[in-house]
């Protein structure tokens, strides 16, 4: 019984440390995180496909709703990447970028990088011009910075990625 107690308490302590480190906001995030920890987490594929369809038709708010439904625990790096990308595409502008949306995108891409194995995430989707989380992160960070290049009138000819 004593040895069992040591194991049970060690597990409980590890769970508490994990909670403090990950700061989950919902019960779904807690259960999803535990499932991801043992490799049993699966996203809702139907909701993900719906999200992808909305994303490709530039319906970004609807896409994010579907992606959030697909990855309700926020544990899937690829889904988080697409959510970040949707913020990028929605916030991108010829004259200026929407800092609020870019900041949210940066938050999500950082989450995607944290979830990816060894922090390396590549999504092979021909519809995307930035296929790695690092490229997307750099683009979002550049959009949030104010630089002399922002006042270059030729900027209006740049293209959304």
């Amino acid at each position: 019984m004593r040895a069992l107690g040591v194991m049970a308490i060690a597990l409980y302590a590890a769970f508490i440390v994990w909670l403090y480190a990950r700061q989950p906001q919902t019960l779904q995030e807690v259960t999803g995180g535990i499932a991801a920890g043992i490799g049993a987490y699966r996203i809702d594929q139907q909701a993900f496909d719906d999200g992808l369809q909305f994303f490709r038709h530039n319906q970004f708010a609807a896409a994010r709703t579907a992606f959030d439904r697909a990855d309700s625990a926020g544990q899937d790096a690829r889904t988080q990447f697409y959510i970040a990308y949707s913020y990028y595409r929605e916030g991108w502008g010829r004259l200026y970028d929407d800092d609020r949306l870019f900041a949210r995108g940066l938050e999500r891409v950082n989450k995607a990088i944290a979830l990816a194995p060894a922090g390396r995430l590549r999504v092979d989707d021909p519809d995307l011009q930035m296929r790695s989380a690092d490229e997307l992160k750099a683009e979002l960070e550049a959009g949030l910075r104010t630089e002399p290049a922002d006042f270059n009138p030729l900027k209006i000819f740049r293209r959304r990625k």
Partner: protein, 213 residues
């Protein structure tokens, strides 16, 4: 103390206190680990518990016990310390002048209790008063003052504190559930402390043995 209490119940109670002590509910749920100063206060409280016999360390770890029993004892000690630190984190205001005042008062109260070395029952009563008062001040008085909507209590306090700049007193506003959770956590902590193996039990059981022989 039964093996089950030592191996399961006490560490579980104190770990639960350590978990819930950092919960703050605002627009999102935050889990705040204890700051360094709370660790210092927790260590002082652990010292108070050991010095006053509220926690008999020799009953948890000694050379006559089996290794796994000593490990159980070590877990009780570690979780008691963590829970103590987290309880101070819980009842200390989050910022400003109140935080500084609470930190100083806790330090002085603990040093005073260490110096006075009261018995177990007095220590437990004293801790109920300390944590109870801190709870009322943080979760009722300061919370009322910090509430932007205000209420009857806030109006009364504003009259009483006329001339004081509230900017030094107001705190982050938390959801009401934080207070209820804090109350439950403090009650659980006190139950855990009351369940700890004490040297008072030692003395009473040895005197019973002496009488029967």
């Amino acid at each position: 103390m039964s093996p089950a209490t030592e191996a399961f119940y006490l560490p579980a109670v104190f770990l639960t206190v350590a978990l819930l002590g950092g919960v703050r509910v605002a627009d999102r749920v935050m889990l705040l680990p204890p700051p360094l100063y709370a660790l210092v206060l927790g260590l002082l409280l652990f010292g108070v518990l050991a010095r006053t016999g509220t926690l008999a360390l020799h009953r948890l770890m000694n050379s006559n016990r089996a290794a796994v029993a000593n490990l159980n004892g070590l877990l009780v000690m570690l979780t008691t310390f963590l829970a103590s630190a987290q309880v101070f984190n819980l009842v200390t205001p989050e910022s400003g002048l109140p935080r500084l005042l609470f930190d100083v008062f806790f330090l002085v109260l603990l040093l005073n209790t260490l110096a006075a070395a009261p018995d177990r029952v007095r220590v437990l009563r004293s801790l109920v008063v300390i944590f109870g008062s801190a709870f009322v001040l943080k979760f009722i008085v300061l919370a009322a003052l910090s509430d932007p909507a205000g209420g009857m209590l806030k109006r009364v306090l504003l009259v009483l504190l006329e001339g004081v700049t509230l900017g030094t007193l107001t705190q982050d506003v938390f959801h009401e559930s934080t207070g209820y959770l804090a109350f439950f956590t403090l009650a659980l902590f006190m139950i855990g402390l009351a369940l700890l193996p004490s040297s008072t039990h030692d003395r009473s059981s040895s005197s019973l043995v002496a009488r029967s022989s």
